[in-house]
Protein backbone atom coordinates (compact mmCIF):
# COMPACT_ATOMS: atom_id res chain seq x y z
CA UNK A 1 0.00 0.00 0.00
CA UNK A 2 2.68 2.49 1.06
CA UNK A 3 4.75 1.72 -2.01
CA UNK A 4 1.75 2.12 -4.31
CA UNK A 5 0.93 5.49 -2.79
CA UNK A 6 4.55 6.60 -2.95
CA UNK A 7 4.69 5.66 -6.61
CA UNK A 8 1.52 7.57 -7.37
CA UNK A 9 2.81 10.67 -5.63
CA UNK A 10 6.21 10.45 -7.30
CA UNK A 11 6.24 8.21 -10.39
CA UNK A 12 10.02 8.51 -10.76
CA UNK A 13 10.69 8.08 -7.04
CA UNK A 14 12.18 5.24 -5.04
CA UNK A 15 9.14 2.96 -5.32
CA UNK A 16 8.73 1.40 -8.74
CA UNK A 17 6.45 -1.39 -9.94
CA UNK A 18 8.42 -4.37 -11.21
CA UNK A 19 7.00 -7.26 -13.25
CA UNK A 20 8.35 -10.47 -11.80
CA UNK A 21 8.35 -12.14 -15.19
CA UNK A 22 9.64 -15.65 -15.67
CA UNK A 23 10.44 -17.65 -12.52
CA UNK A 24 14.07 -18.75 -12.65
CA UNK A 25 14.31 -20.36 -9.20
CA UNK A 26 11.27 -20.83 -7.02
CA UNK A 27 13.18 -22.00 -3.98
CA UNK A 28 15.51 -19.01 -3.73
CA UNK A 29 12.97 -16.62 -5.20
CA UNK A 30 14.63 -15.51 -8.40
CA UNK A 31 12.69 -13.81 -11.22
CA UNK A 32 13.88 -12.65 -14.60
CA UNK A 33 11.93 -9.40 -14.51
CA UNK A 34 13.43 -8.53 -11.15
CA UNK A 35 16.96 -9.34 -12.26
CA UNK A 36 16.55 -7.20 -15.36
CA UNK A 37 15.32 -4.29 -13.28
CA UNK A 38 18.09 -4.62 -10.70
CA UNK A 39 20.72 -4.90 -13.42
CA UNK A 40 19.53 -1.66 -14.96
CA UNK A 41 18.91 0.19 -11.70
CA UNK A 42 22.30 -0.79 -10.28
CA UNK A 43 23.99 0.37 -13.49
CA UNK A 44 25.17 -3.15 -14.31
CA UNK A 45 26.67 -3.75 -10.88
CA UNK A 46 24.17 -6.39 -9.70
CA UNK A 47 22.78 -8.97 -12.11
CA UNK A 48 20.81 -11.32 -9.90
CA UNK A 49 18.84 -11.02 -6.70
CA UNK A 50 17.18 -13.76 -4.64
CA UNK A 51 14.19 -12.83 -2.52
CA UNK A 52 14.48 -15.75 -0.12
CA UNK A 53 18.19 -16.29 0.45
CA UNK A 54 20.83 -14.89 2.74
CA UNK A 55 23.66 -16.93 1.21
CA UNK A 56 23.14 -16.52 -2.52
CA UNK A 57 22.66 -13.06 -4.07
CA UNK A 58 20.84 -11.61 -1.07
CA UNK A 59 19.06 -8.29 -0.91
CA UNK A 60 20.79 -5.03 -0.09
CA UNK A 61 19.20 -2.39 2.10
CA UNK A 62 19.65 1.28 2.68
CA UNK A 63 21.08 0.35 6.09
CA UNK A 64 18.09 1.52 8.10
CA UNK A 65 16.58 -1.95 8.51
CA UNK A 66 15.22 -3.04 11.88
CA UNK A 67 17.30 -6.21 12.03
CA UNK A 68 20.35 -7.71 10.36
CA UNK A 69 20.72 -11.46 9.91
CA UNK A 70 24.11 -13.12 9.49
CA UNK A 71 25.10 -16.70 8.98
CA UNK A 72 26.84 -18.59 11.80
CA UNK A 73 28.81 -21.20 9.89
CA UNK A 74 29.81 -23.48 12.74
CA UNK A 75 26.23 -23.58 14.04
CA UNK A 76 24.94 -24.27 10.53
CA UNK A 77 22.39 -21.55 11.06
CA UNK A 78 21.80 -17.85 11.10
CA UNK A 79 21.50 -15.23 13.78
CA UNK A 80 19.57 -12.02 13.64
CA UNK A 81 20.00 -8.91 15.74
CA UNK A 82 17.71 -5.93 16.14
CA UNK A 83 18.86 -2.33 16.04
CA UNK A 84 18.21 -1.77 19.73
CA UNK A 85 20.69 -4.44 20.79
CA UNK A 86 24.07 -2.73 21.21
CA UNK A 87 26.23 -5.60 22.42
CA UNK A 88 28.48 -8.05 20.62
CA UNK A 89 26.78 -10.86 18.68
CA UNK A 90 28.00 -14.40 17.86
CA UNK A 91 29.04 -13.42 14.33
CA UNK A 92 31.72 -11.18 15.83
CA UNK A 93 30.14 -7.89 14.78
CA UNK A 94 27.78 -5.50 16.51
CA UNK A 95 24.63 -4.23 14.83
CA UNK A 96 26.28 -1.00 13.68
CA UNK A 97 29.11 -2.87 11.94
CA UNK A 98 26.62 -5.27 10.40
CA UNK A 99 24.45 -2.43 9.13
CA UNK A 100 27.53 -0.89 7.53
CA UNK A 101 28.32 -4.22 5.90
CA UNK A 102 24.97 -4.78 4.25
CA UNK A 103 23.82 -1.23 3.65
CA UNK A 104 24.13 1.33 0.95
CA UNK A 105 23.63 -0.94 -2.02
CA UNK A 106 26.28 -3.47 -1.07
CA UNK A 107 25.26 -7.05 -1.82
CA UNK A 108 26.95 -9.09 0.87
CA UNK A 109 26.39 -12.84 0.73
CA UNK A 110 25.85 -14.23 4.20
CA UNK A 111 24.14 -11.10 5.48
CA UNK A 112 20.77 -9.52 4.95
CA UNK A 113 18.83 -6.68 6.49
CA UNK A 114 15.16 -7.23 7.26
CA UNK A 115 12.25 -6.10 9.40
CA UNK A 116 11.24 -7.62 12.70
CA UNK A 117 7.96 -9.02 11.43
CA UNK A 118 9.69 -10.51 8.43
CA UNK A 119 11.22 -13.11 10.75
CA UNK A 120 7.81 -14.69 11.36
CA UNK A 121 6.70 -14.59 7.74
CA UNK A 122 6.67 -17.81 5.77
CA UNK A 123 9.12 -16.55 3.19
CA UNK A 124 11.84 -15.45 5.62
CA UNK A 125 15.09 -16.84 4.15
CA UNK A 126 12.94 -19.70 2.82
CA UNK A 127 15.60 -20.64 0.28
CA UNK A 128 18.08 -21.43 3.05
CA UNK A 129 15.69 -23.31 5.31
CA UNK A 130 13.57 -20.50 6.73
CA UNK A 131 12.85 -19.83 10.35
CA UNK A 132 14.28 -23.18 11.43
CA UNK A 133 17.72 -21.84 10.57
CA UNK A 134 17.59 -19.18 13.25
CA UNK A 135 19.87 -20.19 16.11
CA UNK A 136 20.47 -16.90 17.93
CA UNK A 137 18.46 -13.75 18.66
CA UNK A 138 18.74 -11.11 21.38
CA UNK A 139 16.41 -11.84 24.29
CA UNK A 140 14.50 -8.60 23.79
CA UNK A 141 13.71 -9.50 20.21
CA UNK A 142 12.55 -12.95 21.26
CA UNK A 143 10.17 -11.40 23.75
CA UNK A 144 8.89 -8.79 21.36
CA UNK A 145 8.04 -11.33 18.69
CA UNK A 146 6.99 -14.15 21.02
CA UNK A 147 3.34 -14.43 19.97
CA UNK A 148 3.86 -14.29 16.22
CA UNK A 149 6.95 -16.42 16.43
CA UNK A 150 5.24 -19.22 18.29
CA UNK A 151 2.38 -19.26 15.84
CA UNK A 152 4.76 -19.66 12.95
CA UNK A 153 6.87 -22.24 14.82
CA UNK A 154 3.75 -24.28 15.40
CA UNK A 155 3.06 -24.25 11.66
CA UNK A 156 6.54 -25.64 11.14
CA UNK A 157 5.89 -28.41 13.62
CA UNK A 158 8.43 -27.19 16.16
CA UNK A 159 6.26 -25.33 18.70
CA UNK A 160 9.11 -24.84 21.20
CA UNK A 161 11.53 -23.48 18.61
CA UNK A 162 11.88 -20.16 20.41
CA UNK A 163 13.21 -21.88 23.52
CA UNK A 164 15.75 -23.78 21.48
CA UNK A 165 17.16 -20.57 20.04
CA UNK A 166 20.10 -19.17 21.98
CA UNK A 167 20.34 -15.56 23.15
CA UNK A 168 22.91 -13.41 24.95
CA UNK A 169 22.18 -15.15 28.27
CA UNK A 170 23.49 -18.35 26.66
CA UNK A 171 26.42 -16.72 24.95
CA UNK A 172 27.68 -14.25 22.38
CA UNK A 173 30.12 -16.48 20.53
CA UNK A 174 29.47 -19.49 18.35
CA UNK A 175 31.50 -21.66 20.72
CA UNK A 176 29.31 -20.70 23.64
CA UNK A 177 25.99 -21.29 21.96
CA UNK A 178 26.76 -24.49 20.08
CA UNK A 179 26.56 -26.80 23.15
CA UNK A 180 23.21 -25.19 24.01
CA UNK A 181 21.90 -25.82 20.50
CA UNK A 182 23.10 -29.41 20.63
CA UNK A 183 21.51 -29.99 24.00
CA UNK A 184 18.20 -28.48 22.83
CA UNK A 185 18.39 -30.46 19.57
CA UNK A 186 18.00 -27.32 17.46
CA UNK A 187 16.66 -28.34 14.02
CA UNK A 188 19.29 -26.29 12.14
CA UNK A 189 22.01 -28.69 13.24
CA UNK A 190 20.31 -31.49 11.30
CA UNK A 191 19.76 -29.46 8.15
CA UNK A 192 21.84 -29.45 4.98
CA UNK A 193 25.00 -27.35 5.23
CA UNK A 194 24.11 -23.69 4.92
CA UNK A 195 26.97 -22.98 2.54
Amino acid sequence: MDCKASHEINPTGPNQPIEKGETLDDKLGNWKGVNDFVYKASRQAVSSYNFYSIVYDPMTTCGCCECVAAILPSCNGIMTVNREYNEMTPCGMKFTTLAGTIGGGAVTPGFVGHSKYNICQRKFVAGDGGLLRVVWMPKMLKEELKERFEKRAEELGVPDLLDRIADETVGTTEEEILPFLTEKKHPALEMDPIM
Binding site: S74, M88, G92, T101, P109, F111, M195
Partner: protein
Protein backbone atom coordinates in the same frame (compact mmCIF):
# COMPACT_ATOMS: atom_id res chain seq x y z
CA UNK B 1 36.29 -6.58 -6.80
CA UNK B 2 37.53 -10.04 -5.96
CA UNK B 3 35.91 -12.57 -3.70
CA UNK B 4 32.96 -12.04 -1.41
CA UNK B 5 33.30 -12.33 2.35
CA UNK B 6 31.74 -15.79 2.31
CA UNK B 7 34.13 -17.06 -0.35
CA UNK B 8 37.06 -15.76 1.65
CA UNK B 9 35.65 -17.21 4.84
CA UNK B 10 35.67 -20.69 3.32
CA UNK B 11 39.44 -20.42 2.92
CA UNK B 12 40.11 -19.26 6.49
CA UNK B 13 40.84 -21.65 9.38
CA UNK B 14 37.35 -21.09 10.91
CA UNK B 15 38.77 -21.30 14.42
CA UNK B 16 37.44 -17.96 15.64
CA UNK B 17 40.67 -17.58 17.63
CA UNK B 18 40.46 -13.80 17.53
CA UNK B 19 44.21 -13.31 17.17
CA UNK B 20 43.75 -11.18 14.06
CA UNK B 21 42.03 -8.55 16.19
CA UNK B 22 38.40 -9.28 15.27
CA UNK B 23 36.40 -11.88 17.19
CA UNK B 24 35.45 -14.30 14.40
CA UNK B 25 36.79 -15.60 11.12
CA UNK B 26 33.60 -14.41 9.45
CA UNK B 27 34.09 -10.85 10.64
CA UNK B 28 37.73 -11.02 9.50
CA UNK B 29 36.64 -12.32 6.10
CA UNK B 30 34.26 -9.40 5.74
CA UNK B 31 37.05 -6.98 6.62
CA UNK B 32 39.30 -8.63 4.02
CA UNK B 33 36.60 -8.44 1.39
CA UNK B 34 36.19 -4.74 1.96
CA UNK B 35 39.96 -4.24 1.78
CA UNK B 36 40.20 -2.88 5.31
CA UNK B 37 42.31 -5.71 6.69
CA UNK B 38 45.43 -7.57 5.59
CA UNK B 39 45.59 -11.34 5.37
CA UNK B 40 48.91 -11.31 7.24
CA UNK B 41 46.97 -10.56 10.42
CA UNK B 42 45.81 -14.20 10.48
CA UNK B 43 48.59 -16.38 11.91
CA UNK B 44 46.98 -19.68 10.95
CA UNK B 45 45.97 -19.26 7.32
CA UNK B 46 47.30 -22.04 5.08
CA UNK B 47 49.75 -21.32 2.26
CA UNK B 48 47.25 -22.59 -0.24
CA UNK B 49 44.61 -20.21 1.01
CA UNK B 50 47.14 -17.40 1.06
CA UNK B 51 47.82 -17.84 -2.60
CA UNK B 52 44.15 -17.85 -3.50
CA UNK B 53 43.44 -14.87 -1.32
CA UNK B 54 46.47 -12.77 -2.20
CA UNK B 55 44.77 -11.54 -5.33
CA UNK B 56 41.53 -10.48 -3.76
CA UNK B 57 42.66 -9.41 -0.33
CA UNK B 58 45.35 -6.91 -1.32
CA UNK B 59 43.95 -3.46 -2.06
CA UNK B 60 43.97 -2.79 -5.82
CA UNK B 61 46.11 0.31 -5.34
CA UNK B 62 49.05 -0.58 -3.17
CA UNK B 63 49.32 1.47 0.03
CA UNK B 64 52.78 2.80 0.77
CA UNK B 65 54.40 5.34 3.05
CA UNK B 66 56.97 8.02 2.34
CA UNK B 67 58.69 9.74 5.25
CA UNK B 68 58.74 8.87 8.90
CA UNK B 69 57.23 9.92 12.19
CA UNK B 70 54.79 12.80 12.32
CA UNK B 71 55.24 13.67 8.69
CA UNK B 72 54.90 10.14 7.29
CA UNK B 73 52.67 10.34 4.23
CA UNK B 74 50.62 7.25 3.48
CA UNK B 75 49.07 7.07 0.03
CA UNK B 76 47.33 4.42 -2.09
CA UNK B 77 45.04 1.78 -0.65
CA UNK B 78 42.20 3.08 -2.78
CA UNK B 79 39.40 0.71 -3.74
CA UNK B 80 36.94 2.77 -5.76
CA UNK B 81 36.73 5.14 -8.71
CA UNK B 82 34.35 7.56 -7.06
CA UNK B 83 34.15 8.69 -3.48
CA UNK B 84 30.40 8.10 -3.30
CA UNK B 85 30.88 4.40 -4.07
CA UNK B 86 32.51 3.93 -0.67
CA UNK B 87 35.24 6.31 0.37
CA UNK B 88 38.66 7.50 -0.67
CA UNK B 89 41.23 6.30 1.81
CA UNK B 90 44.59 8.06 1.90
CA UNK B 91 45.03 11.75 1.12
CA UNK B 92 47.57 12.60 -1.57
CA UNK B 93 50.78 14.15 -0.26
CA UNK B 94 51.37 17.80 -1.12
CA UNK B 95 54.99 18.74 -1.78
CA UNK B 96 56.81 21.99 -2.38
CA UNK B 97 59.73 21.96 -4.80
CA UNK B 98 63.27 23.13 -4.01
CA UNK B 99 66.12 22.75 -6.48
CA UNK B 100 69.89 23.01 -6.48
CA UNK B 101 69.53 26.06 -8.71
CA UNK B 102 67.84 28.07 -6.00
CA UNK B 103 69.92 30.20 -3.66
CA UNK B 104 69.83 29.63 0.07
CA UNK B 105 67.32 32.37 0.68
CA UNK B 106 64.82 30.91 -1.79
CA UNK B 107 65.13 27.44 -0.26
CA UNK B 108 64.72 28.85 3.24
CA UNK B 109 61.68 30.76 2.08
CA UNK B 110 59.96 27.61 0.76
CA UNK B 111 60.75 25.66 3.90
CA UNK B 112 59.52 28.52 6.06
CA UNK B 113 56.23 28.57 4.16
CA UNK B 114 55.84 24.84 4.65
CA UNK B 115 56.19 25.44 8.35
CA UNK B 116 54.10 28.56 8.51
CA UNK B 117 51.04 27.60 6.50
CA UNK B 118 49.52 25.11 8.87
CA UNK B 119 45.91 25.31 9.87
CA UNK B 120 44.01 23.81 12.75
CA UNK B 121 40.52 22.98 11.62
CA UNK B 122 37.92 20.53 12.95
CA UNK B 123 40.46 19.17 15.39
CA UNK B 124 42.92 18.37 12.62
CA UNK B 125 46.17 19.96 11.57
CA UNK B 126 46.04 20.76 7.85
CA UNK B 127 49.34 21.30 6.10
CA UNK B 128 51.51 20.41 3.14
CA UNK B 129 53.76 17.67 4.40
CA UNK B 130 56.45 17.07 1.80
CA UNK B 131 59.48 18.66 0.16
CA UNK B 132 60.57 17.63 -3.32
CA UNK B 133 64.30 18.17 -3.71
CA UNK B 134 65.41 18.42 -7.30
CA UNK B 135 68.91 18.09 -8.64
CA UNK B 136 68.96 20.57 -11.51
CA UNK B 137 72.54 20.10 -12.67
CA UNK B 138 73.38 16.44 -12.13
CA UNK B 139 75.98 17.37 -9.56
CA UNK B 140 76.02 14.92 -6.67
CA UNK B 141 77.78 17.20 -4.17
CA UNK B 142 75.41 20.14 -4.39
CA UNK B 143 72.45 17.73 -4.38
CA UNK B 144 73.61 15.99 -1.22
CA UNK B 145 74.26 19.37 0.38
CA UNK B 146 70.71 20.47 -0.38
CA UNK B 147 69.27 17.18 0.86
CA UNK B 148 71.15 17.58 4.12
CA UNK B 149 70.03 21.16 4.48
CA UNK B 150 66.36 20.30 3.98
CA UNK B 151 66.63 17.23 6.14
CA UNK B 152 68.02 19.24 9.05
CA UNK B 153 65.61 22.12 8.63
CA UNK B 154 62.36 20.20 8.28
CA UNK B 155 60.74 16.98 9.38
CA UNK B 156 58.74 16.87 6.13
CA UNK B 157 58.64 13.71 4.02
CA UNK B 158 61.12 13.94 1.13
CA UNK B 159 60.97 13.30 -2.59
CA UNK B 160 64.42 13.15 -4.19
CA UNK B 161 64.53 13.98 -7.88
CA UNK B 162 67.45 13.62 -10.24
CA UNK B 163 68.17 12.43 -13.76
CA UNK B 164 71.59 11.36 -12.65
CA UNK B 165 71.44 7.95 -11.00
CA UNK B 166 74.69 8.48 -9.11
CA UNK B 167 73.61 11.82 -7.69
CA UNK B 168 70.27 10.30 -6.75
CA UNK B 169 71.97 7.39 -4.99
CA UNK B 170 74.19 9.79 -3.03
CA UNK B 171 71.16 11.87 -2.06
CA UNK B 172 69.13 8.86 -0.98
CA UNK B 173 71.97 7.53 1.13
CA UNK B 174 72.18 10.87 2.89
CA UNK B 175 68.59 10.61 4.09
CA UNK B 176 67.65 6.92 3.81
CA UNK B 177 66.56 6.90 7.46
CA UNK B 178 63.82 9.37 6.49
CA UNK B 179 62.42 6.97 3.87
CA UNK B 180 62.33 9.37 0.92
CA UNK B 181 60.62 8.68 -2.40
CA UNK B 182 63.22 8.08 -5.11
CA UNK B 183 62.32 9.81 -8.37
CA UNK B 184 62.60 8.33 -10.89
CA UNK B 185 63.68 5.07 -12.46
CA UNK B 186 63.50 4.99 -16.25
CA UNK B 187 64.28 2.20 -18.72
CA UNK B 188 67.96 3.13 -18.47
CA UNK B 189 68.27 3.42 -14.72
CA UNK B 190 65.82 0.72 -13.58
CA UNK B 191 68.56 -1.73 -12.61
CA UNK B 192 70.68 0.70 -10.59
CA UNK B 193 67.81 2.47 -8.90
CA UNK B 194 65.88 -0.75 -8.36
CA UNK B 195 68.90 -2.10 -6.48
CA UNK B 196 69.16 1.17 -4.54
CA UNK B 197 65.49 1.06 -3.55
CA UNK B 198 65.85 -2.52 -2.46
CA UNK B 199 68.95 -1.82 -0.43
CA UNK B 200 67.50 1.24 1.34
CA UNK B 201 63.89 0.08 1.58
CA UNK B 202 62.70 3.37 0.07
CA UNK B 203 59.78 3.58 -2.34
CA UNK B 204 60.72 4.14 -5.97
CA UNK B 205 58.94 6.19 -8.62
CA UNK B 206 59.05 4.98 -12.20
CA UNK B 207 58.74 7.07 -15.31
CA UNK B 208 58.55 5.80 -18.83
CA UNK B 209 58.88 7.63 -22.13
CA UNK B 210 56.92 4.87 -23.84
CA UNK B 211 53.34 5.35 -22.62
CA UNK B 212 51.42 2.77 -20.62
CA UNK B 213 53.26 -0.17 -22.19
CA UNK B 214 56.60 1.19 -21.10
CA UNK B 215 55.29 1.88 -17.62
CA UNK B 216 53.86 -1.63 -17.31
CA UNK B 217 57.12 -3.17 -18.52
CA UNK B 218 59.08 -1.13 -15.97
CA UNK B 219 56.67 -1.96 -13.20
CA UNK B 220 56.81 -5.68 -14.02
CA UNK B 221 60.58 -5.62 -14.14
CA UNK B 222 60.95 -3.92 -10.76
CA UNK B 223 58.27 -6.06 -9.12
CA UNK B 224 60.23 -9.01 -10.48
CA UNK B 225 63.32 -7.67 -8.66
CA UNK B 226 61.33 -7.94 -5.43
CA UNK B 227 60.29 -4.31 -5.07
CA UNK B 228 56.85 -3.69 -3.68
CA UNK B 229 56.52 0.05 -3.21
CA UNK B 230 56.39 1.75 -6.59
CA UNK B 231 54.96 5.11 -7.64
CA UNK B 232 53.89 5.82 -11.22
CA UNK B 233 54.58 8.79 -13.47
CA UNK B 234 53.39 8.53 -17.07
CA UNK B 235 55.43 11.59 -17.95
CA UNK B 236 52.38 13.55 -19.08
CA UNK B 237 52.75 17.28 -18.45
CA UNK B 238 49.53 18.61 -19.94
CA UNK B 239 46.31 18.79 -17.99
CA UNK B 240 44.34 16.69 -20.46
CA UNK B 241 46.87 13.90 -20.84
CA UNK B 242 47.71 13.72 -17.14
CA UNK B 243 44.02 13.58 -16.26
CA UNK B 244 43.47 10.82 -18.80
CA UNK B 245 46.46 8.87 -17.52
CA UNK B 246 45.31 9.08 -13.93
CA UNK B 247 41.86 7.85 -14.90
CA UNK B 248 43.24 4.99 -16.98
CA UNK B 249 45.61 3.92 -14.20
CA UNK B 250 42.94 4.00 -11.50
CA UNK B 251 40.51 2.13 -13.72
CA UNK B 252 43.02 -0.57 -14.59
CA UNK B 253 43.81 -1.01 -10.91
CA UNK B 254 40.31 -0.90 -9.45
CA UNK B 255 38.13 -2.34 -12.20
CA UNK B 256 40.49 -4.94 -13.64
CA UNK B 257 42.77 -5.50 -10.65
CA UNK B 258 45.68 -4.98 -13.04
CA UNK B 259 48.64 -5.22 -10.66
CA UNK B 260 51.35 -3.56 -12.79
CA UNK B 261 49.41 -0.28 -12.55
CA UNK B 262 48.13 -0.87 -9.01
CA UNK B 263 50.33 1.83 -7.49
CA UNK B 264 49.91 5.44 -6.40
CA UNK B 265 50.95 8.14 -8.87
CA UNK B 266 53.02 11.28 -8.69
CA UNK B 267 52.11 14.41 -10.61
CA UNK B 268 53.80 17.78 -11.19
CA UNK B 269 51.55 20.82 -11.49
CA UNK B 270 54.80 22.77 -11.01
CA UNK B 271 55.88 21.66 -14.48
CA UNK B 272 52.47 22.11 -16.08
CA UNK B 273 51.72 25.78 -15.51
CA UNK B 274 53.63 29.05 -15.42
CA UNK B 275 51.76 30.73 -12.60
CA UNK B 276 50.65 29.65 -9.17
CA UNK B 277 46.95 30.13 -9.85
CA UNK B 278 46.89 27.70 -12.78
CA UNK B 279 49.12 25.36 -10.90
CA UNK B 280 46.75 25.36 -7.94
CA UNK B 281 43.81 24.67 -10.21
CA UNK B 282 45.60 21.64 -11.65
CA UNK B 283 46.50 20.45 -8.19
CA UNK B 284 42.84 20.75 -7.23
CA UNK B 285 41.94 18.49 -10.12
CA UNK B 286 44.55 15.91 -9.13
CA UNK B 287 43.35 15.86 -5.54
CA UNK B 288 39.91 14.88 -6.79
CA UNK B 289 41.23 12.66 -9.53
CA UNK B 290 43.54 10.06 -8.22
CA UNK B 291 46.98 11.56 -7.62
CA UNK B 292 49.20 10.04 -4.91
CA UNK B 293 51.75 12.86 -4.66
CA UNK B 294 51.37 16.41 -5.96
CA UNK B 295 54.44 18.59 -6.39
CA UNK B 296 53.92 22.37 -6.32
CA UNK B 297 56.49 25.03 -7.18
CA UNK B 298 55.43 27.25 -4.32
CA UNK B 299 53.02 27.56 -1.43
CA UNK B 300 51.01 30.62 -0.55
CA UNK B 301 48.19 30.84 1.94
CA UNK B 302 45.72 31.60 -0.84
CA UNK B 303 46.81 28.61 -2.91
CA UNK B 304 47.47 26.06 -0.22
CA UNK B 305 44.50 26.53 2.09
CA UNK B 306 41.82 25.78 -0.54
CA UNK B 307 43.75 22.68 -1.58
CA UNK B 308 44.01 21.48 2.00
CA UNK B 309 40.31 21.98 2.53
CA UNK B 310 39.44 20.27 -0.73
CA UNK B 311 41.64 17.36 0.19
CA UNK B 312 40.09 17.09 3.64
CA UNK B 313 36.59 17.16 2.22
CA UNK B 314 37.17 14.64 -0.51
CA UNK B 315 39.07 12.22 1.66
CA UNK B 316 36.72 12.32 4.62
CA UNK B 317 34.87 9.02 4.87
CA UNK B 318 31.26 9.81 3.90
CA UNK B 319 30.10 6.62 5.59
CA UNK B 320 31.09 7.76 9.04
CA UNK B 321 29.91 10.88 10.83
CA UNK B 322 32.72 13.15 11.97
CA UNK B 323 33.07 13.16 15.71
CA UNK B 324 34.64 15.23 18.44
CA UNK B 325 36.25 13.49 21.37
CA UNK B 326 34.18 13.01 24.51
CA UNK B 327 35.28 15.27 27.34
CA UNK B 328 35.14 18.69 28.91
CA UNK B 329 36.13 21.57 26.68
CA UNK B 330 37.00 24.83 28.45
CA UNK B 331 36.06 27.77 26.23
CA UNK B 332 37.52 31.20 27.03
CA UNK B 333 39.20 30.45 30.40
CA UNK B 334 36.16 29.46 32.42
CA UNK B 335 36.30 29.45 36.23
CA UNK B 336 34.26 27.84 39.01
CA UNK B 337 31.32 30.19 38.40
CA UNK B 338 31.14 29.64 34.65
CA UNK B 339 28.13 27.98 33.03
CA UNK B 340 28.25 24.28 32.18
CA UNK B 341 26.69 23.13 28.91
CA UNK B 342 26.32 19.64 27.57
CA UNK B 343 25.95 18.53 23.95
CA UNK B 344 26.64 15.59 21.66
CA UNK B 345 29.83 14.73 19.80
CA UNK B 346 28.71 15.07 16.17
CA UNK B 347 31.52 17.32 14.97
CA UNK B 348 29.22 19.82 13.24
CA UNK B 349 27.23 20.20 16.44
CA UNK B 350 30.39 20.56 18.45
CA UNK B 351 31.91 23.19 16.19
CA UNK B 352 28.73 25.22 15.92
CA UNK B 353 28.01 25.11 19.64
CA UNK B 354 31.61 25.83 20.64
CA UNK B 355 31.75 28.62 18.05
CA UNK B 356 28.62 30.26 19.44
CA UNK B 357 29.89 29.98 23.00
CA UNK B 358 33.14 31.57 21.93
CA UNK B 359 31.18 34.29 20.16
CA UNK B 360 29.18 35.01 23.31
CA UNK B 361 32.41 35.90 25.13
CA UNK B 362 31.04 34.19 28.21
CA UNK B 363 33.72 31.77 29.43
CA UNK B 364 32.03 28.36 29.68
CA UNK B 365 32.56 24.69 30.19
CA UNK B 366 31.29 22.60 27.28
CA UNK B 367 30.80 18.93 28.07
CA UNK B 368 30.70 16.79 24.95
CA UNK B 369 29.16 13.36 25.34
CA UNK B 370 30.03 10.54 22.95
CA UNK B 371 26.92 9.90 20.86
CA UNK B 372 28.77 8.01 18.12
CA UNK B 373 28.68 11.08 15.92
CA UNK B 374 24.93 11.62 16.01
CA UNK B 375 23.44 15.08 16.36
CA UNK B 376 21.32 16.01 19.38
CA UNK B 377 17.88 15.02 18.12
CA UNK B 378 19.08 11.96 16.27
CA UNK B 379 21.10 10.81 19.26
CA UNK B 380 18.12 11.39 21.53
CA UNK B 381 15.87 9.37 19.19
CA UNK B 382 18.45 6.58 19.02
CA UNK B 383 18.69 6.42 22.81
CA UNK B 384 22.28 7.70 22.85
CA UNK B 385 21.56 11.06 24.46
CA UNK B 386 19.18 10.28 27.30
CA UNK B 387 18.93 11.18 30.96
CA UNK B 388 20.84 8.05 31.75
CA UNK B 389 23.72 8.50 29.27
CA UNK B 390 24.11 12.21 29.96
CA UNK B 391 23.83 11.59 33.71
CA UNK B 392 26.49 8.89 33.69
CA UNK B 393 28.76 11.01 31.54
CA UNK B 394 28.40 14.12 33.71
CA UNK B 395 28.97 12.21 36.94
CA UNK B 396 32.13 10.60 35.59
CA UNK B 397 33.43 13.64 33.71
CA UNK B 398 34.73 15.39 36.79
CA UNK B 399 33.00 18.67 35.94
CA UNK B 400 31.64 18.80 39.48
CA UNK B 401 35.19 19.47 40.72
CA UNK B 402 35.64 22.37 38.34
CA UNK B 403 32.63 24.47 39.26
CA UNK B 404 31.18 25.57 42.55
CA UNK B 405 27.57 25.62 41.35
CA UNK B 406 25.30 22.76 40.33
CA UNK B 407 23.62 23.99 37.17
CA UNK B 408 23.81 22.24 33.85
CA UNK B 409 22.43 23.50 30.57
CA UNK B 410 21.07 20.91 28.15
CA UNK B 411 20.18 21.51 24.48
CA UNK B 412 16.64 22.83 23.96
CA UNK B 413 15.86 20.01 21.56
CA UNK B 414 16.66 17.49 24.27
CA UNK B 415 14.32 19.13 26.79
CA UNK B 416 12.52 15.80 27.09
CA UNK B 417 15.43 14.28 29.00
CA UNK B 418 15.43 16.89 31.76
CA UNK B 419 13.20 14.91 34.15
CA UNK B 420 15.17 11.72 33.78
CA UNK B 421 18.44 13.61 34.04
CA UNK B 422 17.30 15.25 37.26
CA UNK B 423 16.80 11.79 38.74
CA UNK B 424 20.21 10.66 37.53
CA UNK B 425 22.10 13.70 38.76
CA UNK B 426 20.27 14.26 42.01
CA UNK B 427 21.61 17.54 43.35
CA UNK B 428 22.12 19.20 39.93
CA UNK B 429 19.67 21.71 38.58
CA UNK B 430 18.83 20.99 34.95
CA UNK B 431 18.36 24.08 32.79
CA UNK B 432 16.91 23.76 29.30
CA UNK B 433 18.98 25.86 26.95
CA UNK B 434 17.98 27.28 23.56
CA UNK B 435 17.03 24.99 20.70
CA UNK B 436 19.25 26.67 18.16
CA UNK B 437 22.96 27.22 18.74
CA UNK B 438 22.54 30.74 17.36
CA UNK B 439 20.60 31.67 20.48
CA UNK B 440 23.30 30.51 22.86
CA UNK B 441 25.10 33.88 23.16
CA UNK B 442 21.92 35.64 24.24
CA UNK B 443 21.16 32.87 26.70
CA UNK B 444 24.63 32.83 28.22
CA UNK B 445 24.80 36.58 28.64
CA UNK B 446 21.83 36.53 31.00
CA UNK B 447 22.78 33.28 32.71
CA UNK B 448 23.44 33.38 36.47
CA UNK B 449 24.41 30.43 38.67
CA UNK B 450 21.74 29.61 41.24
Amino acid sequence: MGLTGIQIFKLLPKTNCGECGVPTCLAFAMALASGSAELDACPYVSDEAKEQLAESSAPPVRPLTVGTGDYAVKVGGETVMFRHEKTFVNEPGLAVLVTTEMDDAAVNDKLAKLDKFQYDRVGLNLRAEMVAIKDASGDADSFVALVNKVKDASQAALILMSDNADALAAGVKACADRKPLIYAATEDTADTLGALAKETGCPLAIKSSDGYDGLVALSDKLTGMGLKDLVLDTGARTAKQAFEDHTVIRRAAVKKVFRPLGFPTITFPCEMADNLMDETMLAAMFIAKYAGFIVMSDLEAYSLFPLLLERLNIYTDPQRPMTAEQGIYPIGNPNENSPVLVTCNFSLTYFIVSGEIEGSRVPSWLCVQDTEGLSVLTAWAAGKFTGETVGTFISKSGIADKVSHKNIIIPGYAAAISGELEEELGDWKILVGPREAAHIPKYLKTWKPE
